[in-house]
């Protein structure tokens, strides 16, 4: 299989403005943050971010003007940091549209995409205002007559997944929780894997049961040590509570947020500074 290893800049350059982009990880954990920062540096616009539960990644993309739609079930920094400040403000001020889902209906949409069908029936949701607000339709089971909510396929143009180990063909190992990452990989048209470590593919051949993502589903592989920072990466590092607290403080107004972005994201040196 071809060598898919490339620079982060090159991998992210292939993400077009307006794309639907699925981000792996969940809340403060194993987010593809290095790639998120590169989306900001490359000044992408109009992205629709797909995630079940997002935090820093979705929030900073809203604040930087990169995302204008968020398809997700939950956006928040959990109890330690609270609300997602820029997501919240962007939606309230009309710059970002919250395409609110249940986490499970995001999953249903990704499943439909994975399975090549236009929609996926999903249990629950019938009496939720989320359904009516988003115009989720229903379908009648042709066997029992039961009404079920139908979620339209969500086909990400790109899925970006951060993993602990990958080889140059794109085979990848995730240690710890997978979240919805493998489903995003199969649903998406294009897959970018960023990895803490690039390892020899022979290791994967020795124990293919541990391979989480098959390389033949992957388009680009990027070496990105500390690529989840400031989020956690299981077995590698914890989330950076100090940075996240500073982020929250900076997010109070747009001027301080811009300075924060300049210092921590827009400067070229950001990645190397974290090594």
């Amino acid at each position: 299989m071809p060598d898919k290893l490339m620079s982060l800049a090159e991998a992210i350059a292939a993400v077009p403005d307006g794309a639907t982009v699925a981000l792996g990880g969940n809340t403060l954990h194993r987010s593809p943050s290095a790639a998120v920062h590169e989306l900001i540096r490359q000044n992408k616009r109009g992205l629709n971010i797909v995630k079940t539960a997002g935090a820093y990644d979705v929030d900073v993309l809203c604040g930087a003007g990169v995302a204008d739609r968020v398809t997700a079930g939950f956006i928040g920094f959990e109890n330690e940091f609270g609300m997602a400040p820029l997501y919240r403000r962007s939606v309230e001020q009309g710059r970002v549209r919250a395409l609110e889902h249940a986490c499970y209906s995001v999953i249903a949409g990704l499943r439909a995409a994975t399975q090549g069908v236009p929609f996926m029936p999903v249990a629950g949701l019938l009496e939720s205002d989320v359904r009516t607000a988003q115009g989720f339709r229903t379908v009648t089971d042709p066997y029992s007559g039961q009404e079920v909510v139908a979620i339209q396929a969500i086909v990400p143009d790109v899925a970006i997944i951060h993993v602990q180990e990958a080889d140059r063909e794109g085979n990848a190992r995730i240690y710890g929780t997978l979240f919805e990452d493998t489903l995003m990989v199969t649903a998406a048209r294009r897959v970018i894997v960023t990895a803490e470590r690039i390892v020899d593919g022979a290791q994967f051949a020795a124990q293919p049961e541990l391979t989480t993502i098959a390389g033949w589903l992957v388009d680009a592989v990027v070496e990105a040590p500390r690529g989840s920072w400031p989020c956690s990466c299981a077995g590698c590092y914890d989330y950076d509570a100090e940075y996240l607290a500073a982020y929250h403080a900076a997010a109070k107004d747009m001027a301080s947020f811009q300075r924060f972005l300049e210092e921590h994201v827009l400067r070229d040196s950001v990645l190397s500074s974290q090594l």
């Binding site: 809340t27 959990e78 009309g94 609110e100 249940a102 986490c103 629950g124 359904r131 919805e180 956690s232």
Partner: protein, 241 residues
Amino acid sequence: MFPPDVMMAVAMARLLHDGETVFHGVASPLPMVAILLAQRLHAPNLVYLNITGSANPQPEQLPRSTVDPRLLRGTRSLVTLTDLFDLSARGRIDTAFLSGVQIDRAGRINMSLIPGPDGDVHRPKVRLPGGAGSACILPTAKRTLLWRTRHDRRTFVERVDFVTATGHADRVVTPLCVFRRDHGQLRVESIHPDVEPATLRAQTGFTIDVDESTPVTPPPSEQELATLEAVDPEGVRKIEF
């Protein structure tokens, strides 16, 4: 008087039965603590599942995020969030924990938004985090225990401004009381020690029946307090307050 974090953790733990399959999601320190507490007290065979996909973890240190890899320690298996939602969808979660920014008399929750002018949900006055899994879990898990660390009239309302989820809410645990949902309505099952009925009425945005004859939540026992201290020595549960 017991601090609300103690009272709530204990009250939530007591609601769990031995042998049940119990689930919590993101941003759920109190359920995490309550489940670990129940396992040590009266429910050794409870199956504790959480959004990290672990089963019966034995965390060395309790995380402040309930999606944290610390919740994987000791698990013998890993599943995805998808697997957990599927489990709920097919009716195999006995008890789920969910919360709501607003909770109404019917046990419905709002985690989504406060609508803008003319009820606009797309340009809301307040954008909340969203219900995560609740719109699918509340109607499909056999029962849901709601909890909320704030008990006031903005939280406990006659009707939520937006129905993020409705379904099988069974109990609501707050710093002031335990509600039980009965014939589709929240009723006070017990009032916590040292809480005045008048305070509870004043803090609740819908009419409730509560007076001196309302049962009082039994105060935490010595054993409950000691076990809680052992389970959560750093008091991670307090970050919810």
